[in-house]
């Protein structure tokens, strides 16, 4: 059964290798890509079922006993994140079939895509903080190449900024890991948690300083205020399938790492650290959404929205109650699905109306009402209208905030919700409602062979936001269980270190 923990890493790895072996056969690569992505999602679902039945699972790689070897751990939160990775992988793999040009495909696009999925899954499953650094690097180097692949001036300039800031953050992450090791003598996250809670090897002040170093390092990757400027400067440059994948997964890995260390390791001084997280959360939400309101380019607008949604996730972490963490996990699933759906829809808008710029498009509602519906559902979910997924996620976060009497963050989150709705109606009014600025503009019809790969992922993601909203109960129960595991790390520590912990 322990194989289930390794499969989400092995499958994308083998898929990438077979895709590389089929370098000259583009058609075969496309097939391998879809099969590999589907298997990855299946393995992730298997892992989730296994973890939800039998509790937290851990594997010691090479049978080196923890805390000396590298451990892979899956608690419910990790398993849910791996499932989201599999889901994103599959939808983007299918969407890529219709949207990625032959030149990119023959330069190893699919191999890179699956290596990225491996890196992301690895980051979610590892229980060793240096190993986390390695998975981050696997993920980053493939994302660098994916962002620059194609080599247009805009892409190269976007990649320039993306690479520089990420290398800076990696250097900081590495330095923090080194200092953490020097004071604790361990890299195993469960062992670190035990030592810092016991408080005898690490002075609480030093632990807080280390926590702040990790906050900055992961904060750059997650796109927190005031470290997010690289994101809207680079995310809109690659093809839309890659943007959707990045927005769904990469910043979320940063958030995952923050959640992991601020629920497992650095929980010795919650009054200081988690209040700071709340303040950053509020500022991230506000700056992100204000940036979005000012944009007229769909991809840039949505990129700014990524930032404001990260603020909500951080709000769930900062409140640090069972309800807020459950809300955060539910929000994570919701935002990954809804945001990627929006990016993928905007790719279809671009194909049909000829531009990403809101001033240059229009009249889509008349030309293609079905597409309008496909945009409308995830957009309203993102704004948090009932009965869609975003409503329940925001409701849980707001209720958690009211329970702990943090009224300021509740007020901010509600106001930001309203502005989110406003910027979504802006896209709606400009792209769908108003007439096309050139009255004679012919709407490009989707070619029959690209129709299905483009629309299938969008339809399924939009359907998922509805399902997550209408049948929220079982998903929310799962999120609540996952939150309980985060809030009480003793089960995690015991699963990794064994009974004596």
């Amino acid at each position: 059964m322990t194989l289930l923990l390794l499969l989400p890493l092995l499958i994308p790895f083998l898929t990438a290798v077979t895709a590389l072996l089929a370098w000259h056969n583009r058609l075969l690569q496309r097939r391998i890509n879809v099969v590999g992505a589907a298997l990855h999602l299946a393995a992730a679902l298997g892992l989730l079922v296994w973890v939800s039945r039998e509790g937290i699972q851990a594997v010691q790689i090479g049978n080196w006993p923890a805390p000396f070897g590298i451990t892979l751990v899956a608690d419910l939160f990790s398993a849910i994140m791996v499932v989201m990775t599999g889901l994103m992988g599959l939808t983007v793999a299918i969407y890529s079939l219709g949207s990625i040009d032959a030149r990119r495909e023959s330069f190893g696009y699919y191999a890179l895509l699956h290596t990225l999925l491996m890196g992301v899954s690895g980051a979610f499953l590892t229980g060793d903080i240096f190993n986390l650094y390695v998975w981050f690097e696997v993920m980053l180097i493939t994302s660098f190449v994916l962002m620059a692949l194609g080599g247009s001036q805009e892409q190269l300039e976007g990649a320039l900024k993306y690479v520089t800031i990420n290398l800076l953050s990696s250097a900081l992450f590495l330095a923090s890991v080194g200092i953490l090791y020097s004071v604790t003598g361990t890299l195993n996250m469960a062992d670190l948690a035990r030592q810092i809670q016991a408080g005898d090897t690490v002075a609480p002040g030093l632990a807080t300083v280390l926590g702040m170093m990790f906050l900055v390092a992961f904060g750059i990757k997650a796109g927190l205020f005031p470290l997010f400027f690289w994101l809207p400067a680079s995310y809109h440059t690659p093809p839309i399938a890659i943007t959707a994948l990045f927005s769904g997964l990469l910043t979320k890995v940063g958030v995952y790492a923050l959640v992991r260390i601020f629920t497992l390791i650095f929980v010795h001084d919650i009054a200081y650290t988690h209040t700071l997280l709340l303040i950053i959360a509020g500022l991230t939400m506000v700056t992100g959404v204000l940036g979005a309101v000012a944009q007229m380019e769909v991809r840039r607008l949505l990129s700014f929205h990524i930032i404001s949604q990260i603020g909500y996730l951080l709000m769930g972490l900062g409140l640090y109650t069972a309800l807020s963490l459950a809300g955060m996990i539910f929000f994570m699933a919701h935002v990954i699905i809804a945001k990627s759906a929006l990016f993928l829809v905007s790719g279809v808008i671009r194909r049909q109306a000829g531009s990403y710029h809101l001033k240059e498009v229009g009249g889509l509602y008349r030309a293609n009402p079905a597409l309008a519906a496909l945009f409308f559902v995830p957009a309203m979910a993102l704004a948090g209208l009932p009965p869609l997924s975003g409503f329940w996620a925001k409701l849980a976060l707001v209720r958690a905030g009211l329970e702990t009497e943090d009224y300021a963050i509740v007020a901010v989150s509600l106001a930001v919700s309203l502005l989110t709705l406003f910027s979504m109606t802006k896209i709606w009014a400009e792209a769908f409602w108003k007439d096309h600025p050139q009255p004679e503009h012919p709407f490009a019809r989707l070619a029959p062979q690209t129709r299905r790969p483009l629309l299938l992922p969008v339809v399924s993601l939009a359907a998922l936001t509805v399902i997550l909203g209408v049948a929220a109960e079982p998903f929310f129960a799962l999120a609540t269980d996952a939150a309980a595991q985060l809030l009480d790390p003793s089960a995690y520590i015991q699963a990794v270190l064994g009974g004596g912990a």
């Binding site: 240096f130 650094y133 390695v134 690097e137 980053l140 180097i141 660098f144 190449v145 620059a148 080599g151 247009s152 001036q153 805009e154 190269l156 300039e157 976007g158 990649a159 320039l160 900024k161 690479v163 520089t164 290398l167 800076l168 990696s170 250097a171 900081l172 590495l174 330095a175 890991v177 080194g178 200092i179 090791y181 020097s182 003598g185 890299l187 400067a233 680079s234 809109h236 440059t237 007229m296 380019e297 840039r300 710029h357 001033k359």
Partner: protein, 127 residues
């Protein structure tokens, strides 16, 4: 020894960050590599510099003689050097391609991703 290394690390960080804030692309790459050297040296130094005490198990014993140098930080540094080498090589090529595409190595001029298409001309006129 630690004090000397600490000063060197500080100098490397300062130099790396200074280089990254210059306008030239080439200097940014140099800054990035200086930063990764600083991080590696930091790991080495904070984990205790020890001379001539390799963690070898003498014949007949089951554990090395205390005190011995911890080999793990060096393993971490080795991993980090390899990763850093690959990433910097990639960054170098990327920066060269960006330089060729943009036709300038002045970071203040490289901002086609910052401004929307319409206002780019106006922005250039101001700058």
């Amino acid at each position: 020894m630690e004090v000397v290394l600490a000063v060197i690390i500080g100098a490397l960080y300062a130099a790396g960050l200074y280089m990254m804030m210059r306008r030239s692309l080439a200097k940014v790459v140099i800054g990035l590599s200086l930063l990764s050297y600083a991080a590696n040296l930091l790991i080495f130094t904070v984990n205790g510099v020890m001379r001539g005490r390799p963690p070898l198990v003498p014949e007949g014993a089951v554990r090395p003689v205390e005190p011995f140098a911890d080999p793990l930080p060096q393993a971490l540094i080795l991993t980090a050097i390899v990763i850093g080498f690959g990433v910097q090589a990639f960054a170098l090529v990327l920066f060269k391609r960006a330089y060729q595409a943009a036709g300038t190595d002045d970071l203040d001029q490289i901002r086609s991703t910052e401004l929307p298409k319409k206002s780019r001309k106006a922005g250039q006129a101001q700058g």
